[in-house]
C-alpha cells in the first residue's frame, strides 16, 4: 500500500509566447507517493479535463531521465530538490503530505515560453549545429581498437557526453549562461582523438554561437548542482582554455605543437 498525498500546486499558466502569464493554484488530491512528478501532473490534468478546464502543458518524453525533454523549476530548484535527477525521475515520496509545490518554466531570454511550463530550447540546437563535424571514417567498417584512447580520457569524454541537453544549467544560472551545456558538448569531442581535426574551430564557433543567445559565466556553480547528470563545471574551465587557444594558435602551424 502506498501512502496518499494531498498537495497544493502553484503552477505558471501562460497561453502562448506573447500572452502574459500568472501563477494559478490547483489542489492535487490523493496522489500515490510512488507516482513520479510527471505522473502527478498527469493526474491533476485528468481532473482538469474532466472539469472541462485546459490541462497544464508540461515538457516530457521518455520519462526515463535520458532524453532531456522534461524540466521545470520546482520550489526554486531546476528539476526539484533531488540531486542528479531529472524531473521525470523525481518521485512524490520525496514530498510530504500538505506541501505546496511551486512550478515555474525555465527562465531565459533565449528560452521563450511556448505554453505553460513548456519553453523553446532550440538555441541549444544552434550551438550544436555550430560545432561542425568530427573525423569519423566512412566506407568499410574500421578495425576495432584502431584508434587507441586511454581509459581516463574515454571516461572524461563520457562524463561530458552524459549531457542530455535539458537546459537546467541555463535555468539555474543567475546569468542565463549555457556554459555547462556548451563545455560538455565541446569536451565530449575535444578530449578524443577523433575530435582533434576540428577542435579549435569547433571551440570558437560553438562559444561564439552560445554568446549570441546566453550570458557569461560568473562561476557560482549553480549549473552543476542543477544538472540531472551532475556534469562538473571543470568542463567550463577546459572550454575557456580551448577557446582562448583557438584565438591564439595559428592553426596552419598546428603540426608544430
Amino acid at each position: 500500500m502506498s501512502t496518499r498525498l494531498n498537495l497544493t500546486l502553484s503552477i505558471w499558466r501562460q497561453a502562448d509566447a506573447d500572452s502574459p502569464g500568472r501563477f494559478e493554484t490547483y489542489p492535487a488530491k490523493d496522489i500515490p507517493d510512488d507516482a513520479s512528478f510527471l505522473e502527478m501532473l498527469d493526474i491533476v490534468n485528468e481532473g482538469l479535463i474532466e472539469n472541462g478546464q485546459e490541462p497544464i502543458e508540461f515538457p516530457h518524453d521518455c520519462r526515463e531521465g535520458i532524453c532531456g525533454t522534461c524540466g521545470v523549476m520546482i520550489n526554486g530548484r531546476a528539476h526539484g530538490q533531488e540531486k542528479g535527477t531529472a524531473t521525470c525521475q523525481l518521485h512524490m515520496r520525496k514530498f510530504n503530505d500538505g506541501d505546496t509545490i511551486v512550478i515555474e518554466p525555465w527562465r531565459a531570454a533565449a528560452f521563450p515560453v511556448i505554453k505553460d511550463l513548456v519553453v523553446d530550447r532550440s538555441p541549444l540546437d544552434r550551438i550544436i549545429e555550430a560545432g561542425g563535424y568530427i573525423g569519423a571514417p566512412t566506407g568499410t567498417a574500421p578495425d576495432a581498437n584502431e584508434i587507441l584512447i586511454p581509459k581516463e580520457v574515454a571516461d572524461s569524454s563520457m562524463d561530458a557526453a552524459a549531457c542530455i541537453g535539458c537546459g537546467a544549467c541555463v535555468a539555474a544560472c543567475p546569468n542565463s549562461a549555457a556554459q555547462l551545456f556548451t563545455s560538455a558538448k565541446l569536451w565530449h569531442l575535444n578530449s578524443l582523438p577523433q575530435g582533434q581535426t576540428e577542435r579549435f574551430r569547433r571551440s570558437e564557433n560553438m562559444v561564439e554561437t552560445m554568446e549570441e543567445f546566453f550570458g557569461s559565466c560568473t562561476n557560482h556553480g549553480e549549473c552543476t548542482e542543477a544538472c540531472p547528470k551532475e556534469i562538473s563545471q571543470d568542463f567550463i574551465a577546459y572550454m575557456n582554455r580551448d577557446y582562448v587557444k583557438s584565438k591564439v594558435f595559428n592553426r596552419r602551424l598546428a603540426g608544430q605543437h
Partner: protein
C-alpha cells in the same frame, strides 16, 4: 494523460531562433578579438584581478611597517613607513629617474582597474539582456553571498578606493592637516576619526568578500583546472581573503586603540 507538448517551429515575435544579442559586426585584429567575447572578457577580468590582488597583497604587506614605529636611518630617526614610502618613489633610481618606475607601476594598475571595471560593466549589461527573472523564490544551492554580490562589493570597493586616494594620497578630506610624505602622521590623523576608521573597516571587509569569490573564480575563467590541485583553489581564495581582511582591518583598529600612533618628538627634525 496530458496533451502532447507543442511541436514545430514557434512563430511570433519571441522566436527562440533569432539571436538575443546582436552578433559582433567584425573581428578586431588579434589579440583584441579575444576581448570581443564574453569568455575573453572573463579572461581579461581574471588577469587584471590577479594584478590587482597582487597589488592589494603588497600594499597590505608594506603597511605592516606602520607597526614598526621609528627606526634609525642614515643617522636620522624616522618612521619606518615614511622611509618605505620614499623607497617606493626611489625604486630602481640609479636606472630610472626618481618616481619613474612608481609611475610605470601606477600606470599598469590604472589600466588593470580600467579593464577590470570595463569587462565587469559590459558582461553585466550582456547578462541583463539575456537573463529573465523567476517569478517564484529561487533556492540557491551553490551560489554564496560573495559570488552573488560581486557587482555590489566591486562598486563599493571602487568608490572606497577613490575615498582612500582622496584621503591619504591627495589630502582632500577635511578633518586633519595632510602633509605630503608624512605617511605615519597622515594615517594616524585620518584614522583616529572613528567615522573614517569605520569606513576603512567596512570597505576592507567587503574587499575580502570580493576576493573570496574572485580569487577562486579566476582559476575557472583562465581555464586553470586540474584535478590534482582543484581542491586547493577554494582554500587559497579563503586564505587570501582572510590575510587581506586581518591585515587591512588591523590598521584602523590599531590606530583607534593607540597601538599605531604618531609622536613628532620621536623623529629627527
Amino acid at each position: 494523460m496530458a496533451a502532447p507538448t507543442a511541436a514545430g517551429k514557434v512563430t511570433g515575435s519571441k522566436s527562440a531562433d533569432r539571436p538575443i544579442r546582436v552578433a559582433k559586426k567584425r573581428d578586431l585584429p588579434f589579440p583584441l578579438n579575444i576581448y570581443q567575447t564574453a569568455v575573453g572578457k572573463k579572461w581579461v577580468m581574471a588577469v587584471t584581478g590577479v594584478i590587482l590582488l597582487g597589488f592589494v597583497l603588497f600594499h597590505m604587506f608594506g603597511n605592516i611597517k606602520l607597526y614598526l614605529g621609528v627606526i634609525e636611518h642614515d643617522g636620522e630617526r624616522l618612521y619606518d613607513i615614511d622611509i618605505y614610502a620614499e623607497g617606493l618613489r626611489e625604486l630602481l633610481t640609479p636606472i630610472f629617474p626618481r618616481t619613474w618606475l612608481l609611475w610605470l607601476l601606477r600606470g599598469g594598475l590604472i589600466v588593470a582597474f580600467g579593464l577590470h571595471i570595463h569587462s565587469a560593466y559590459t558582461l553585466t549589461r550582456m547578462n541583463a539582456v539575456v537573463n529573465r527573472q523567476y517569478q517564484s523564490k529561487r533556492d540557491w544551492l551553490a551560489a554564496n553571498f560573495a559570488s552573488r554580490s560581486m557587482r555590489v562589493t566591486g562598486i563599493i570597493v571602487g568608490l572606497y578606493l577613490l575615498f582612500h586616494l582622496a584621503d591619504l594620497t591627495w589630502g582632500w578630506i577635511p578633518g586633519y592637516d595632510w602633509e605630503r610624505g608624512q605617511v605615519q602622521a597622515n594615517v594616524v590623523n585620518s584614522m583616529s576619526n572613528p567615522v573614517v576608521a569605520i569606513i576603512y573597516i567596512v570597505a576592507n571587509v567587503l574587499l575580502a568578500v570580493h576576493i573570496f569569490h574572485g580569487a577562486y573564480s579566476m582559476f575557472q575563467s583562465l581555464g586553470i583546472n586540474n584535478p590534482r590541485y582543484n581542491s586547493v583553489r577554494r582554500n587559497l581564495a579563503t586564505a587570501l581573503a582572510v590575510i587581506i581582511l586581518v591585515g587591512n582591518v588591523s590598521f584602523p583598529i590599531a590606530v583607534l586603540a593607540g597601538i599605531i600612533d604618531y609622536d613628532p618628538n620621536l623623529v629627527s627634525a
